[in-house]
Amino acid sequence: MIQPGLIEQEVLHEIAMSIGESLEMDAMLNHAIPIFLRGLGCATAAMLLCGEEEEGGEAGPVFILPRAAQRNQQLNDILARYARQLPQMTLPALLETPASGLYYYAWHLCDQKSGALLLGRSTPIPEALQLEIAPLVYKLGHALKACRQFASLQATQQEMARARDAAQAANRAKSNFLATMSHEIRTPLNAVINLSELLLESELTSRQRELVEGICQGGVSLFQLVNDVLDFSKIEAGKMEIQYSNVELRSLLEGVCNLFEQQATQKGLQFGLSIAPDVPRMLSCDQTRLRQVLQNLLSNAVKFTERGRVHMAVRMTEPNPAGRDLMFQIIDSGIGIRDEEQGKLFEEFHQMDPALNRRFGGSGLGLAIAARLVQMMEGSIGCQSRYGEGSTFWFTLPYQRLSLPATVAHSAVAAQLEGKILLVEDSPTNQMVASALLSKVGCQITVVDNGQDAIAAVTAQPFDLVLMDVSMPGMDGLEATRRIRAIMGPPSAVPIIAMTAHAFAEDKAACLAAGMNDYLTKPLHREQLHAMLARWLQQQGGSPVGEPVPAASEKSLPIIDEQVLAQLANDTSEAVLLKVLDLFLAESKNNLTALEACLVNRDWQQFTKLAHAIKSSAGAMGAKALHQVSSQLEQLSRQGERDKLAALCQELAQIQAQTRLALEAHFQGRMANPPQDKG
C-alpha cells in the first residue's frame, strides 16, 4: 500500500512541472489548471487577477474551469463575497464550508496584491496540503506575471508593427510621388538643357553665350539632383534592377576617372588611378550602377578636397569563404569626417554640416544611393576617415571571372545616319528637342502627334525608322505599334524605337512585346539617340552592329583606324587619349569652319594650310577617312584645281561628323567631354 504522503509529492511535482509551459496566458492556464484539478481531486478552479494599474484593488476572475462553472451559483456567490476581501485576507484558507456543493479554498498568487486562485473540492483539503499547494500557486502567479508582460510586449510590438507599416506605406507613397515628380521635372528640364546646348551652337554674343552657358550648367546640376531623387525613389520602391553584363574593368575605371580628372586638376589636386595586377580584366557586373557608385564617391572626393590628392585604387581582397572580392577605394586628402558623423554617412538625406551643404550643395542622397546600389550588387561599403586629414571610401563586390569571346564591343564604329525618320510624339517641347537633335545629324524628319496618324504615315510612305512615344492621348504607342506590325509585317520591316518616360524593366518588356525593336528613355540624350539611330539605321542598311561600316565617301574607307587608337591608348592611357581626341575633334571642327570661310573668301593659301592641318592631326589620331579627304583637298588646292573643292569640303564636313560619332561609339560614351559641335 502506497503512503499518501508520497502520492502528494508526486501530484505536487506534476503540478509544479506543468506551470509555465507557455507564455500565452490562456494556453498556460489551459495546460496547468486541469492538472491542478485532476491531481488534487478538485472539481472547479477560478483564477482572480487584480488589474495591473490597480494592483491591490478588487480582483476579477480571468479564468474559470470548467467553463460551465461560470453559471454555478455557489461559485458566483463566493466570488461576489470575497473578490474585494481577498487581498486583505490571510491565505490559504477555506472560504466556505458548504451545506452542499464544494469546499472552496483560496491561495494568494505571488503576493496579496496580485490576485488569488480558488479551488473547489468535494472533500476538505487538509491544512498541511493547503500549505504544500501554496508554493505552486506562487509559481503560477509568477508565470501569470510573465504572461501578462509577454502580452503587453506583444501589444507594444503589434502597435510598433502597425506604426512601421503605416510609415512604410507613407514612405512608399512619398517615393512614388517623388518618382513621378522627378520624372515630370526631367522632361522640361531636358528641354532646357538640350535647347540651350543647341543655342550655344548658334551665333551668340559673348554676353549671350555666358548667360546661356549659365542656364546650361544650372540645368545640368539640377538634372543631377533630380536624377538622384529619382534613383533613390526607384530603389526605395524596389523598382531598381541590377542587370549584369560583361565589363572590361580597366576601360570602365579609366572612363570614370576621366570625368573627374580635369575637375581635380583645375583645383590643383593630384589625381590618380591604380589597378592591382591581379584584378581581372573582365568581370560580370552592372556597369551602369558600378559607374554610378564610383562617380558618386569620386564626385564627393573631388568636391570635398581642397588640396593634396584624390586617388582611386582597385585590388582583389584576400580569399574568404565566399570567394574573393573586388575592393574599390577612393582615397582623398580632403576635409575628413568626424567620428560621430561617420555612422550616418550612408543614411538618406544626410549631410554632414549645414554650412558645408550651403558651400558644396548636393542632394544628400549620393552616398545613400551608392550604399543601396552596392548592397543590391551583393557587396559592402564603408568609410575610414580622420577629421581634417582625409577619407577613404571603399566598397567591395563579389566577382566572377568570365570567359569571353575574343571580340568585344570595341569594334562598334560609326554609322551612316542619313535616313527618313517618323517621329511620333504628342509633346510640342519634346517634338522640338527631338527634331533638333535628329536634324542635326542629317535625318529627314516627319512629325505626327498620335498613334492613329503614325499608322497613316507609315502606310503612306516608307520610313527607315520610327521613334514612337509610348504614352499619348488617344491611341498610345504600344497599340499603334501592334497595328503597324499587323499591317506591315514582322519587326524587321521598319524599326520602331520606343521613347518613354517610364524607365522600368517592365515598361521595356511591354514595348518589346508590342513589337518595338528597342527602347529609349526620355528625356532624350543626344548621345543615346545617336547611338540608337546609328545602330538601327545601320542594321536597316545590312550593317549589323559590331562590324566596321564603310564611310560615306565613295572610297568606302573606314572612318577610324582602330589599330592606331589602340596603339595610342597603349602608349599613353585611355584617359589621356580621350582628352586628346576631344581636342582633336574640336580643332578639326574649327578648322573645317575656317576652311569653309576660306572657300567663300577664296583665300587659297590659308585653305591649303588648314587642309594640311586637318590632314596632319587626322592622320595622327587614326581618323582615316578624314585624313584621306583632307589630303585630297590639300593636294587639289595646291594644284589649283578649285572646282572640286566645294563638293569635297561638304564631304569633309560629313566625314568629320561621322568621325565624331565613330569615336563616340568606339569608346562607348567614355569620352571626357562627349564630343559636341562647338558651333
Partner: protein
C-alpha cells in the same frame, strides 16, 4: 420505462420488440445495449435504427449484463419516457476544434434536480480525451455523467456506436435525459510499486517511464510481483491483473489498462499524459468486488434506493476477465433487490456525480441508479 431483454442473436426479435415499444405511449428514446456475439448484419441494423420512429442509441459491447448475469449474446432495450435531447458526434464532428457547438443545451430543471448525460463512445476512437474534457467544460458539475466505451474484445476497431443514423465507428452518441440519477464509481486496485514519471507518451501509448522504455519498467515490476515471466505472448493474460494507476489526491488513482505491447511501449485504453506519475496496480478478488459494492452504495446514497427504477451497471470488461469465474460475485454484490439491473462490460468508463473532475476510467465499476 419499458425494459426488454433477449439473449437471442437475431435481429427479428429486436425488430419485434422495437415494434412493440414504438406504440407504447410516452416513450421518447430507447437505450440499446447489445453484445458483440450477436454478429448482427450491420446493414440491416442500420436500416432498423434509421427507420425507427423513436430514436435509438447505445452501443455494441463485449458482453451485456442483465439481472446478475453476463451474456455474450443478446440485446437489452430500455424505453425512456423522460424528456431527452440526443446528439450524434460522428468522426468529423469529434475532430472539430470546437465540439461544444454540437452539444445539446442544458435543460432548466426545478430545484436541486440534475439531468443525466448518457455517453457512449467508440472505445478505440481517437478523440476520447478531448470529448471528455469538452463535456466537463461545457456542462461542468451540473450533470450526472454515465457511459462507456463500445467495441469488441478482439481489440479491433469497427462500427460499434448505436445512433439513429446507424452504427458508427470512431463516433459518440450523447443523450441528455431529464431523469434523476445517483452515480457511484470505484475500482479497488492498489499500488504495488513506487511512482514512475511518465517521460514519453502519445495519447494512450505509454512510451517512457523514468526515462526508460515503459515496457522494461513495467516488466520488471510485474515479474517481481507475479513471480512469472511476462512476454509479448502472455502479455494480455498477465497484464489484466496489473493495470497502471495515475496519481491523484482525494480519491482512488485513475486506472489505465495496458491492453497491448507495441515494441517497448504499452498501449493503454485512455490517455496517459506526459509528466504524470503512475504506479503499477494490483488487486485481490475480494477488494475488487468490494469496490463494486462501494460504487453501488455511493449511488444509493445519492439517489436513494426507494426511488431507483433501474440500475445501469457500466463495468469494465477487464474486471470480468480478471475475476473470471468469480465475476458473478461482483454482479451479486452490486445488485439491489427490487431494482432491475441492466448494463454492459465496456472498454473504458465515463462517470461523474457532480463532485469531481470528469475522467475516462479503466477497470472501474460505475453504478447508475435512474429514476425516470
Amino acid at each position: 420505462m419499458k425494459l426488454f431483454f433477449s439473449p437471442r442473436t437475431d435481429l427479428e426479435c429486436v425488430a419485434q420488440a422495437l415494434g412493440q415499444m414504438s406504440v407504447e405511449p410516452g416513450l421518447r428514446g430507447i437505450l440499446m445495449l447489445t453484445a458483440e456475439g450477436n454478429h448482427y448484419d450491420l446493414a440491416q441494423l442500420d436500416a432498423l435504427l434509421q427507420h425507427s420512429p423513436i430514436p435509438i442509441f447505445g452501443g455494441i459491447f463485449p458482453y451485456v449484463l442483465y439481472e446478475e448475469v453476463q451474456y455474450s449474446t443478446g440485446v437489452i432495450l430500455l424505453g425512456l419516457c423522460c424528456p431527452l435531447q440526443l446528439a450524434v458526434l460522428p468522426q468529423q464532428r469529434l475532430q472539430d476544434e470546437d465540439i461544444s457547438r454540437y452539444l445539446p443545451p442544458l435543460p432548466r430543471l426545478a430545484g436541486e434536480q440534475r439531468a443525466m448525460l448518457l455517453t457512449f463512445i467508440d472505445g478505440f476512437g481517437h478523440r476520447i480525451h478531448p470529448l471528455i474534457q469538452e463535456l466537463f467544460n461545457h456542462y461542468g458539475l451540473e450533470l450526472n455523467y454515465i457511459g462507456g466505451g463500445c467495441g469488441s474484445l478482439s481489440m479491433e476497431s469497427g462500427p460499434c456506436v448505436i445512433t439513429p443514423q446507424g452504427v458508427l465507428q470512431d463516433a459518440a452518441v450523447l443523450v441528455l435525459c431529464q431523469a434523476a440519477s445517483g452515480i457511484g464509481v470505484a475500482h479497488g486496485w492498489e499500488s504495488i510499486s513506487g511512482a514512475f514519471k511518465v517521460t514519453a507518451s502519445q495519447e494512450g501509448l505509454l512510451q517512457g517511464l523514468d526515462w526508460m522504455p515503459a515496457w522494461t519498467v513495467y516488466q520488471e515490476v510485474v515479474e517481481q510481483h507475479a513471480g512469472v515471466r511476462i512476454s509479448e505472448e502472455n502479455f494480455f493474460e498477465i497484464a489484466k491483473a496489473y493495470p497502471l494507476g495515475i496519481a491523484k489526491l482525494g480519491s482512488e488513482l485513475v486506472i489505465r489498462d495496458p491492453v497491448r505491447l507495441q515494441g517497448d511501449a504499452l498501449l493503454c485504453v485512455g490517455e496517459v499524459r506526459k509528466g504524470a506519475y503512475v504506479h503499477v496496480m494490483h488487486g485481490g478478488t475480494n477488494t475488487i468486488i468490494q469496490a463494486a459494492r462501494h460504487a453501488r452504495d455511493m449511488a444509493v446514497r445519492e439517489l436513494g434506493q426507494a426511488d431507483a427504477e433501474i440500475m445501469l451497471f457500466v463495468n469494465c470488461v477487464s474486471r470480468s476477465l480478471f475475476l473470471g469465474a468469480e465475476f458473478h460475485r461482483e454482479l451479486q454484490a452490486v445488485s439491489l433487490p427490487g431494482t432491475p439491473m441492466i448494463g454492459a462490460l465496456t472498454l473504458g468508463e465515463i462517470a461523474n456525480s457532480g463532485r469531481d473532475y470528469l475522467e475516462f476510467f479503466n477497470k472501474t465499476s460505475v453504478v447508475g441508479l435512474i429514476k425516470s
